[in-house]
């Protein structure tokens, strides 16, 4: 509960900080401090040392997994603000409001990591999405940003409609919005004739969640929105929000899969393969690195979906690890991307000469995204694949996945090629040594996790 309450409060605080503080940097500092506070509160909660216990009437349910995941998200946000704070300031005038919105998003993620019913799921998603519509359109004069905002909003609202229809049908079948009920029905799904209403509802729910985590064929908003949104917020959206979405997805379907029977795996593998295909294949031919990353995030989502495919303990660990690895790498690389004026591949030519630190850390991030060993990304993918193999899932989908992973190497390494092997003079914004230090730390973290992933997981298991 701490996270929800405090994120809301911090949001309000940020709103006022805009009025009270003149200097933008001061606002950023406030945001950082309050994020640290939020993180510590959440951790305290997860260690159940100090936490507000409100009787939520089983609408919310806090378990260690969710809280830990939430703290990962908050920590990712913290890193994001630390690296990109200056760029957030550059985005527009009302910096404080952006931070406020970010905190509201965090409130939404906190709900999504602890919801115990469709009602809170719905609210959480909405609380998470609405600020994002705004952040997407933050660059008001930039038509791309406008377009992105409009598209995101319309499609988001539409998917909300589908979500609600799904919820309604489920409610019709079960007479309740609680997860357990459908779970219990699922338990006895074998005996009683499966309720078609519930199935229709679940499928619609599945679709709308796929939309949220941008899984094909419901991914279409992703490239346009990520591309159009201000890069800072893109990196936030692509990491924190998507991870939260995944957690909700996992949490929602953990127990309901059996209702759908065999078609569940079929639908899921269909979605997974489609996602990997669209993500990787389309990314190959992009000129703009930002857009390439948008597609790559789709392909990453494809990998994360494996956690859903084989929902076992390895999958849970895997999604944790994946969230960490993916957030670190993506935030890190976006931080570099933002510094470069030209987002095309040629814009990166000769970066290794101009800014060796950026280039080298960039290589680490990209390798982690590609899943090369010695980086966190490898173990993320490794856990996902092993969870599938462990669940006795059919091997062919794993093989397909690794083949697409090999394709993903293509576009990630294209960036490396232009950074290292091509001549050019990239235009780069001023780089502070603090920023470099931050990058190096993130890269170091990625490599450490890449060598010893157990530190993250042990932390999770205490």
């Amino acid at each position: 509960m701490n996270a929800i309450i405090f994120s809301a409060i911090m949001g309000v605080v940020m709103m006022f900080s805009g009025i009270l503080l003149q200097k933008k940097s001061a606002v950023t500092t406030t945001a950082i401090i309050s994020l640290i506070l939020l993180l510590s509160m959440n951790l305290l909660d997860s260690y159940s040392i100090f936490s507000f216990n409100v009787n939520t009437h089983d609408l919310l349910h806090f378990n260690k997994f969710g809280l830990f995941f939430n703290s990962i998200l908050i920590a990712a946000t913290l890193i994001f603000v630390l690296l990109c704070g200056s760029d957030i300031e550059k985005t527009g005038v009302n910096v404080a409001d952006y931070y406020a919105l970010i905190f509201f998003v965090l409130c939404g993620t906190s709900i999504l990591t602890s919801f115990n019913g469709l009602l809170m799921l719905f609210l959480g998603i909405e609380i998470m999405s609405i600020p994002l519509y705004i952040l997407t359109g933050a660059e008001k004069k930039n038509l791309k940003s406008n377009e992105a905002a409009l598209k995101y909003f319309l499609m988001g609202a539409f998917s909300t409609g589908l979500l609600l229809m799904g919820i309604a049908l489920i409610y019709g079948a079960t007479g309740s919005f609680a997860l357990q009920v459908s779970a219990t029905m699922a338990a006895s799904a074998g005996t009683i004739p499966t309720s078609f209403l519930q199935i229709a509802g679940l499928i619609l729910l599945f679709v709308s969640m796929c939309f949220k985590v941008s899984a094909a064929p419901f991914h279409f908003w992703t490239p346009d929105v990520y591309d159009g949104a201000p890069s800072v917020f893109t990196s936030f959206m692509a990491t924190v929000v998507k991870a939260a979405g995944f957690f909700a997805f996992l949490n929602l379907f953990e127990s309901n899969t059996t209702i759908l029977g065999p078609s569940w795996k079929i639908l899921l593998s269909f979605v997974i393969v489609a996602t990997l295909l669209v993500g990787n294949i389309t990314a190959v031919f992009q000129q703009s690195i930002k857009r390439m990353l948008a597609y790559s995030s789709i392909s990453q989502a494809g990998f994360m979906l494996f956690a859903l495919y084989s929902n076992n303990d390895l999958a849970k660990e895997g999604i944790l690890l994946y969230a960490v690895a993916y957030c670190l790498a993506t935030i890190g690389f976006f931080a570099i991307l933002i510094k470069v004026k030209d987002y095309t591949f040629d814009g990166f030519n000769g970066l290794a000469k101009a800014q060796p630190v950026l280039a080298f850390t960039g290589v680490v991030f990209l390798m982690s995204l590609a899943g090369i060993p010695l980086t966190a990304g490898f173990f993320a993918k490794f856990y996902m694949l092993s969870s599938v193999v462990k669940s006795g899932g059919s091997l062919w989908i794993v093989v397909v996945a690794v083949l697409f992973a090999a394709i993903s190497v293509y576009y990630y390494f294209k960036v490396i090629q232009s950074m290292f092997f091509k001549e050019g003079v990239p235009e780069i914004a001023a780089i502070t040594s603090k920023f470099k230090a931050g990058l190096i730390l993130v890269a170091a973290a990625i490599i450490i996790i890449g060598v010893l992933p157990s530190i993250v997981l042990n932390w999770f298991y205490f």
């Binding site: 599945f206 064929p217 419901f218 346009d224 078609s263 294949i281 190959v284 031919f285």
Partner: protein, 645 residues
């Protein structure tokens, strides 16, 4: 048999190292002395060994000496061992003895070479002798194979000695590759032995030969014979030998006449038991040998290059030796190897001296009447010709006669064809002799002006060899003339004991033999006289254009062209197809095709992202519909998927 055995190959090896490394620093004379000195040393050592072996006589003497284990794996162990018995010691004498003479000869013949090339020459020569000794002394097939390939290498190096001339290089390469083909056969035979017997040591192989099925033996012997074909220039692998004349003449004398080419005969004689137990292979050998003998002889009839003639005669003589092996006359074959070594080396050296005098002119149509200018060469050459022609009592007569006699007992047809070959031999040899030494000189004037007898270093070997080729025959006097005077047969009997047990050779009656010898001799003399008279009055120029059959012969039956068009060219074009089409378009094309496919599909898939909200949502809705449909008939889909994976 003590460690002294190792000295024999050791000396040449040392010579090779010293000359090879010091070829820049040492002076010519030093190189010459070292080069031939080491041969003399190992010749003396071999003489000593010979004395031991000879004195040991009939009773088995411990012949195998192991140096160390070359290869030792679970399946088998291959010792680095030498075997010195009657057969190998005989070859040792031939190799080191003639080798020494030829080294000596070379010191004079190669005088004009630059010092370091001179050193290189002797290094190669020593290396050759070393490998040849390995070949002969090896106590198992692998060591023999080491020498076998070693001599091939040296002949490659020596044929291509004048490496600036690319034709020579091609000749060298041809020699090496053709030998390799043979070697492959040899190697497979060795594998077969290892597979069946788990050993390649002569003693064990020959004792366990009973364990081999007849098919195995036939296969092994055939493969070995293929090896011999390559090395000893038999049909169909003979074409490298005439080309090998590109090398310096002493090399031709040593390698391509006296020693290396007889390796095949040695190998078969060495494994005589196997061959005796494989009659089919024996017939094959006999036929091939005979065919080669005749075939080469016909070619030799029309050659105008002095060395080419000798080369083809070598091939033909080797054919006789194989005929001997084929009909089971192992002693005869070895005997002929020896005598042939004498007179053929002599012929080559004589030719060398002629060429030396004629300033590297090799066309006999431009020579003539040389007897006036270089008497010693002339006399020795004449003796050699008589020997090879088989005029009694010259050495050639005895050895060839022995083979022919054995052939007759096997199958008279062999005999008659063999005799035909002998007559041709006599003809082309004396054609050569006449054109070179008799008649009137047909060369240019300054050539005539410079004509001179060769220096002592060259004439001494000639004389020695001449003596040998005259008297060499007396170590193998046939039964017909004197009972048990066939010293060689007695000497070698332990080697061929097993085979003689197996093969029942019924000897001819003496009267028959006299008749045959007499008639053949008469015929040969007739041919000789005809040849001499015919070519005495040959005067240059006209009759160059051969026609019809003659042309065919002059062009060696167009065998080289045949090989080029039937074997080499197709392989080349096939390789070209592999390189330019299969590799580029086929395999690599497929690989790159995958990449192309990816980028193409990427370009197509981008268009789905049309940027229009409506189309996005449309696809969403449709896919929802699809989901429902999937759900409706999930069972069938499951079945399908399970069938698929």
């Amino acid at each position: 048999m003590n460690k002294i055995v190792f000295l024999v190959p050791l000396f040449p090896l040392l010579g090779f190292l010293i000359n090879g490394l010091g070829r820049k620093s040492l002076s010519k004379s030093a190189i010459g002395i070292i080069g031939s000195g080491v041969l003399l040393l190992s010749f003396l050592t071999s003489c000593y060994l010979f004395s031991i072996v000879a004195s040991a006589g009939e009773e088995q003497l411990q012949t195998v000496v192991t140096l160390f284990n070359f290869i030792s794996v679970d399946a088998f162990t291959i010792p680095f061992a030498f075997q010195v018995d009657q057969l190998s010691v005989l070859f040792l004498l031939i190799i080191t003895g003639i080798g020494f003479l030829i080294h000596l000869y070379s010191t004079a013949y190669m005088k004009e070479e630059e010092t370091h090339h001179f050193g290189r020459y002797f290094a190669y020569l020593n290396l050759f002798v070393f490998s040849m000794l390995l070949l002969v002394m090896g106590a198992n097939y692998v060591i023999m194979f080491i020498g076998w390939e070693g001599v091939g290498l040296c002949s490659y190096l020596l044929i291509g000695y004048w490496f600036k001339n690319n034709d020579f290089n091609y000749a060298a390469k041809k020699a090496f590759i053709m030998n390799r083909i043979g070697d492959l056969g040899f190697l497979l035979a060795v594998f077969w032995l290892l597979f069946r017997l788990g050993t390649v040591n002569y003693n064990e192989v020959f004792t366990q030969v009973a364990n081999l099925s007849s098919f195995d033996i036939a296969a092994i012997t055939t493969l070995l014979f293929i090896g011999a074909m390559g090395k000893s220039a038999q049909i169909p692998l003979y074409t490298w030998l005439p080309d090998a004349m590109a090398g310096p003449t002493p090399v031709s004398a040593l390698i391509h006449a006296a020693t290396m080419v007889t390796a095949g005969i040695y190998m078969i004689a060495r494994s005589n038991i196997l061959f005796t137990m494989a009659p089919t292979t024996q017939t094959l050998i006999a036929i091939i040998g005979l065919a080669t003998a005749i075939f080469a002889a016909t070619i030799a009839l029309k050659q105008n290059d002095i060395k080419k003639v000798l080369a083809y005669s070598t091939v033909s003589q080797l054919g006789y030796m194989f005929l001997g092996l084929g009909v089971g006359a192992y002693t005869g074959a070895v005997f002929h190897v020896m005598t042939h070594a004498f007179f053929k080396a002599l012929l080559f050296l004589g030719a060398g001296s002629v060429i030396h005098a004629m300033h590297h002119e090799q066309d006999i149509r431009k020579m003539g009447n040389l007897k006036k200018f270089m008497p010693i060469t002339h006399i020795t050459f004449l003796l050699a010709c008589l020997a090879i022609a088989g005029i009694p009592p010259f050495s050639g007569f005895f050895s060839k006669d022995e083979i022919l006699a054995a052939a007759f007992t096997k199958n008279p047809l062999y005999y008659y064809i063999g005799v035909g070959g002998a007559l041709m031999t006599a003809f082309y040899m004396f054609r050569l002799y006449t054109l070179t030494f008799l008649g009137k000189f047909r060369g240019t004037h300054d050539q005539e002006h410079h004509l001179h007898e060769s220096p002592a270093a060259m004439t001494i070997p000639l004389i020695v060899l001449a003596v040998l080729s005259v008297v060499g025959g007396f170590i193998g006097i046939p039964e017909a003339f004197a009972e048990n005077k066939h010293w060689l047969e007695h000497f070698l009997s332990p080697i061929f004991a097993e085979s003689t047990k197996l093969s029942t050779v019924h000897h001819l009656s003496h009267s028959q033999e006299y008749l045959m010898m007499g008639s053949v001799t008469v015929l040969i003399i007739g041919v000789i006289l005809f040849a001499v008279n015919n070519f005495k009055k040959f005067t240059g120029g006209h009759e160059l254009e051969e026609t019809g059959f003659g042309k065919l012969l002059q062009n060696k039956w167009y065998i080289d062209e045949l090989y080029n068009n039937v074997i080499v060219a197709p392989i080349n074009s096939f390789a070209a197809i592999c390189k330019n089409f299969v590799e580029k378009s086929g395999i690599d094309g497929a690989i790159n095709g995958v990449g192309k496919l990816v980028s193409y599909s990427s370009r197509q898939l981008r268009l789905v992202q049309s940027g229009q909200v409506a189309s996005y949502l449309l696809i969403m809705i449709l896919s929802i519909v699809v989901f429902f449909i999937i759900w409706f008939n999930d069972i069938t889909i499951m079945k399908f998927l399970n069938k698929l994976f």
